[in-house]
């Protein structure tokens, strides 16, 4: 039996969140026969502005729940209409990006539907009975757990960057507009003031990412990561430990509590490879690790393991490239 999967299309700043496409690509790769539909909530204006972008999504159908109260995201308002739609649409599986808004909306929606929910998954499978097997890091990224649910739809949020986007020739066949009868105005709260933050450029899919950990021994040495990145036009990244020591900005953290990355080449200087770091780098095409400890976990996970002092190699690289 072919399974039906409903994907929540998240809109942020009038754009479709990248994780939406990542989820669609992943479902296609784990079950090519699945019927994949999308659902989004927005106002009329956003709907017309997005129509071209929406038509490029490789989905069977897109349901657009439209109302003027959906112009900005508010959890309780969105949850009410989404839950109502899901109750009528009865998909086997429901997936949403584990963005900040997604992790707010999903539990409220699941609670309304009295169904189970698995948070922030980094891997999914669909078995022959159309059950979703959702895998996520837990215990601070020290353990992985595969979770199943006995309620329908099987519902999970998916970590942004966990899956790669695959190009697809198919585009959406049909867009269905729905006007919810009672869009939940009673839940609206008042936003007195909103200061948007500058959009940080998405660096997680850069071609080359160069990263540093405690093996670099000092903040001064960590600065060399930035220097090398400037020279070779790569993006810098850091481990949680390096960030906790104040060597780098939290926005460039890679791992369970940071970003998941998918570069063509990942170069790790002085990183031992704690599990919570490894879950963030698994989508790298090629990993080069430089570490004095031949037995460090990252040395087994890398394509190329260079047994050497990270600081010295980094300095030599800068000298050669300058």
């Amino acid at each position: 039996m072919c399974s039906t999967v409903l994907v929540y299309i998240e809109i942020n700043n009038k754009k479709i969140e990248k994780v939406t496409e990542e989820i669609i690509s992943k479902i296609k790769s784990v079950n090519e026969n699945a019927e994949i539909n999308g659902v989004l909530l927005c106002d009329e204006k956003t709907k017309s502005e997005l129509s071209d972008d929406l038509s490029l999504l490789p989905l069977n159908k897109i349901y657009v729940l439209t109302d003027s109260v959906f112009d900005t995201f508010q959890t309780c308002v969105y949850a009410k209409s989404l839950a109502e739609f899901v109750r009528n649409n009865c998909p086997d599986i429901l997936l949403m990006g584990a963005t900040e808004n997604g992790r707010d909306l999903a539990p409220r929606t699941a609670s309304m539907l009295d169904i189970g929910l698995t948070a922030d998954c980094t891997d999914i499978e669909i078995d022959e009975q159309n059950n979703l097997l959702a895998t996520r890091p837990t215990y601070g990224g020290k353990m992985m757990a595969t979770i199943v649910s006995k309620t329908r739809p099987n519902f999970a949020t998916i970590r942004p960057g966990a899956f790669k986007t695959q190009k697809s020739d198919i585009s959406t066949n049909e867009v269905v507009t729905i006007h919810p009868e009672n869009p939940g105005i009673e839940y609206l709260y008042e936003v007195i003031n909103c200061t948007p933050k500058p959009q940080i450029e998405d660096w997680t899919c850069s071609e080359i990412i160069v990263s540093g950990g405690l093996g670099l021994k000092s903040k001064d040495n960590f600065e060399l990561i930035y220097k090398l990145c400037d020279i070779i036009h790569a993006k810098p990244a850091a481990t949680r430990a390096a960030i906790e020591l104040g060597w780098a900005e939290p926005s460039i953290q890679v791992g369970q509590t940071g970003n998941s990355i998918s570069p063509k080449l990942y170069i790790a200087f002085g990183i031992s490879g704690a599990m919570q770091h490894m879950v963030g780098i698994t989508n790298s095409d090629k990993i080069i690790a430089i570490n004095t400890d031949k037995n460090a976990p990252i040395m087994k996970a890398a394509d190329i393991a260079i047994v050497a002092d990270a600081e010295l190699v980094l300095k030599s690289l800068i000298k050669h490239c300058s």
Binding site: T75, A119, K142, A145, E190, T195, M278, A301, V313, S316
Partner: protein, 270 residues
Amino acid sequence: MKFNIIVCIKQVPDTSDIKWTKNNTIQRDGLDSILNPYDVGAIQLAKNVKYILKNRNIDVEITAVTMGPPQAENVLKTAIAMGCDKGALLTDKKFSGADTLATAYTLSQFIKEVIPDFKMIICGQQAIDGDTAQTPSSMAEKLNINQITSVVALKEINEAYSLWIKDTKTATEEIKSGFPLLIATTLSNTEIIPNINGYIKAQKAVIDAYDANKIKADNSKIGLSGSPTQVKKAFKYEISRDTMILEDNNIDNCAEFIINEINKCRENNV
């Protein structure tokens, strides 16, 4: 009338100190239990509310509640030492094995039965063991009240409404809401050092215990049987690739090798 605040807290294993057994399971013996760091932030916000309202002659009572085994009483005493007024322990063998939905139901059932006239619930946004951040939103829905998550500060509060600062990756917002209301906070580095009076109060405190009957819980919605999600397997994460090991005492050779790889990567994209 009393202004009742409920702070939901959780006793969690110290995840910075996890060890593995030979069978690839987590070694639970000897694992230290701590108060979830985000819940300390929640207690601090509750204290801030109490402080401001006290100056307006409003009587505020903060009740810390947790669900867990009898020894979870410790975490409630910690909360009292930190400034909460009372502790409530939801403890029953039937509660065990609860996922976020069953936990949210159990907590909401306690609130409905015991403190139905509450004004505010404050939670840590997530617990460091599960990191799901699902229970607060799920509980707000069960109580049919509004929620504000990712809260980092209280800006203003009076008997009619409150103003909160919500901080996310995309924006900083100031949000106004009446009561009742659920707040989830992302403050995880708050430190509250109890004073001597706090310790004495905690020592003397009698923690009220509640089982499934006492909160009139529907047995099909609590514990393992009320939990739709189940862990099918747990495992240690390992990536293993065919690794080429390069051991060369000449650092420059190592550097040149990497440059070659960088160039290969660039060429493939032309």
